[in-house]
Symmetry: C2
Subunit: 234 residues, 2 copies
């Protein structure tokens, strides 16, 4: 049997506790290899050796390589999002958005900007490999964007973000700033591109802050701008 052959995998919910543990061990081993070498650089014998299982066990649980790859995507998304909780579940103020981005920058600094974004790297390698895998990546990014968007909706309800702001657009802007910033940071081994990208995205979101319109008249200062504008500073 080769990687190209497909057999019906045993679905996760039918597994015994021991089966779930074996499946999990295979996924973890594969995810570690894929993170270091990419999908194309990871063979079934590599996964066998790293997980201490037979090839037939891998086919039993995942059907084919695409099935294992999709399980790796799901695993990486879950791991990446779990690391970001509880921050991701509480992105309901400008301060929380900023703290979340700063923590992402600090996390990259701690690992010397090596490895980049687990999800973005998988996406770049896999997006053109087939519709099922692309659908898995669409779902992965949606799982990341949904809590960002939910936080922005809560900011609208609490009156911090203007009701007219397009929370779908703003969530996408935050996510793309992370993806672009993480890639450039990884290439340059510097957090600077990630910091510049996320600072700009947050400043853009902050420009939709809901604030009462100040009364204009003699001696009234113009409203403070969210984005720097040195010209107007005294």
């Amino acid at each position: 049997m080769t990687w190209q052959d497909s057999v019906a995998p045993t679905t996760e919910r039918r597994l015994t506790a021991a089966g779930r543990r074996t499946r999990e061990r295979i996924v973890r081993a594969a995810a570690g290899l894929v993170f270091r070498r990419g999908v194309a650089g990871t063979s079934i014998p590599d996964v066998q050796q790293a997980a201490g299982v037979s090839a037939s066990q891998i086919y039993h649980y995942f059907g084919d390589k695409q099935g294992l790859v999709r399980a790796v995507v799901d695993h990486q998304v879950t791991a990446t999002l779990d690391r970001q909780r509880p921050a991701l579940d509480h992105l309901d103020s400008f301060a929380a958005l900023r703290a979340w981005c700063e923590e992402t920058v600090a996390g990259q600094a701690r690992r010397g900007c090596e490895g980049g974004c687990e999800i973005g790297s998988l996406a770049g390698e896999l997006v053109e490999t087939g519709p099922d895998t692309r659908a898995e990546l669409v779902a992965a990014f949606e799982r990341w964007e949904a809590p960002i968007r939910a936080g922005l909706v809560r900011m609208q309800r609490s009156g911090e973000l203007d009701a007219s702001a397009d929370v779908h657009d703003l969530a996408t802007v935050l996510l793309t700033s992370l993806q672009g910033g993480l890639l450039l940071a990884q290439v340059r081994r510097s957090v600077h591109p990630l910091k510049a990208a996320t600072d700009a995205a947050i400043a853009y979101v902050e420009s939709f802050a809901a604030r009462p319109r100040p009364e204009m008249g003699p001696g009234t200062e113009p409203p403070a701008r969210d984005l720097p504008d040195r010209v107007r500073e005294p």
Copy 2:
């Protein structure tokens, strides 16, 4: 001889005209395969067949696979930047920046958002494969960022952009918005993420517009904001 063996490649400048043509044919064939299948999915026999050359010719010109890969990176950067000229060389107004991003969005729409960014895709796959290749990627992004930065400097000289704006940061923000937006657009097969990301980046750059500070006093309107803020609109 395998891919892992390295022999000194014949440098480009020592080649005859016929040699340069052969080398160029190999690079083009390899770049096309890499764009469709990724580096790991492209073998030397694939390149031989696509270019109609022998393996020894490939080793003669490139030394090893890493040498060929670096040549592919250089080729893709040149092709990508050539397509964007003369726009890239004239990014010296907000209108020009906006037109350039709109053309990038339109270009993605024309190809159904398939394929993503040639440079970004190569970067994602290759950045962790070795220091020489990473250095090639650093140079690739710098070749892209430099004309963006140069345009911003010209905007400062012409008085359109404030002199205090950090043109290095702003150029990085524009480039990361393209990278993040292109990846999400490719995954979702929609130009929307690219448009949202670049619109936000340009609005951020525009917030550094140089303008005379208006006199404040009775009846004076507050300065117009660069970013939308519906609250302040009448």
